[in-house]
């Protein structure tokens, strides 16, 4: 299943400056794995050392945050589905 992933400015250094990347994946999880397999520099910025999406990394399927979808990252994808990586910015003094 070919789907599109929209890449935010800060992460385009790892996709050869492409704002949109086409990947194969049957689920959101599979598509994200395909993305970071092809563009391996993205992996450490999207996922923590245990492989979970970092807290400030949001992934939208269309207009829906995947964290709020019943099947989450296991949500199946239709051909031509659009995923968007939307980072939050966060921080603060220790």
């Amino acid at each position: 299943m070919q789907v599109s992933v929209h890449i935010p400015t800060a992460l385009r250094a790892f996709t050869g400056r492409q704002a949109r990347v086409e990947v194969e994946g049957e689920t959101v999880e599979a598509a994200l794995t395909a993305l970071t397999t092809t563009h391996s520099g993205l992996h450490k910025h999207l996922r923590d050392s245990e492989g979970r999406l970092r807290s400030f990394v949001n992934v939208y399927l269309g207009d829906e945050d995947i964290r709020f979808l019943p099947e989450g990252a296991q949500t199946p994808l239709a051909a031509g589905a659009e995923l968007t990586i939307v980072p939050s910015i966060a921080g603060g003094r220790s």
């Binding site: 935010p8 400015t9 800060a10 992460l11 385009r12 250094a13 790892f14 520099g41 450490k44 910025h45 970092r54 807290s55 400030f56 949001n58 939208y60 945050d65 968007t84 939307v86 980072p87 939050s88 910015i89 966060a90 921080g91 603060g92 003094r93 220790s94």
Partner: protein, 155 residues
């Protein structure tokens, strides 16, 4: 008072040029927001590390706003699309550290995005709120430290 870790300023080899009026806007925002942290977007030209527009954003953190900031994804995306529609690049982000140095914290580093500048303005509350220091940083690619990218005011 939390413990302060004095970190060496590891150079990034880059500076960040911020136009004078926009740097004043950033400082005004930081002072106005005291004792809370403020946050905003830095727009300009990525290829020359130049900031020509400062866009204040709302600190949406649900917990301690004197020590934390957050701007949620969709609001941030809309703000970025607005500056990109004007032909500017997203160069980075800024936030304030009320009564705390302008050095990066582990919280800042853990949540930092790569390949963008982070400007931190230290705001001292006494005798009246004022910006005492402004420093720029960027995440090293291995995420282990943030590198120093000094802020240079420009005409």
């Amino acid at each position: 008072m939390s413990s302060r870790i004095e970190r060496p300023k590891t150079p990034s080899g880059r500076t960040l040029s911020v136009s004078d009026p926009e740097l004043r806007r950033l400082h005004d925002h930081a002072v106005r927001g005291y004792p809370h942290e403020v946050v905003g977007l830095l727009a300009g030209d990525r290829s020359t590390d130049t900031v020509t527009r400062v866009v204040p954003l709302e600190n949406e953190t649900a917990d301690d706003p004197a020590r934390r900031f957050r701007v949620n994804g969709l609001k941030l995306m809309r703000a970025e699309q607005a500056v990109e529609a004007d032909g500017l690049d997203v160069v980075g982000y800024y936030h304030s550290h009320p009564d705390h140095p302008a050095n990066w914290s582990d919280t800042d580093r853990e949540q930092a995005l790569p390949d963008v500048a982070y400007v931190i303005a230290a705001v001292q509350g006494s005798p009246s709120p004022h910006v005492s220091d402004t420093q720029g940083w960027r995440l090293r690619d291995d995420r282990a430290v943030m590198l120093h990218q000094p802020v240079i005011p420009s005409e």
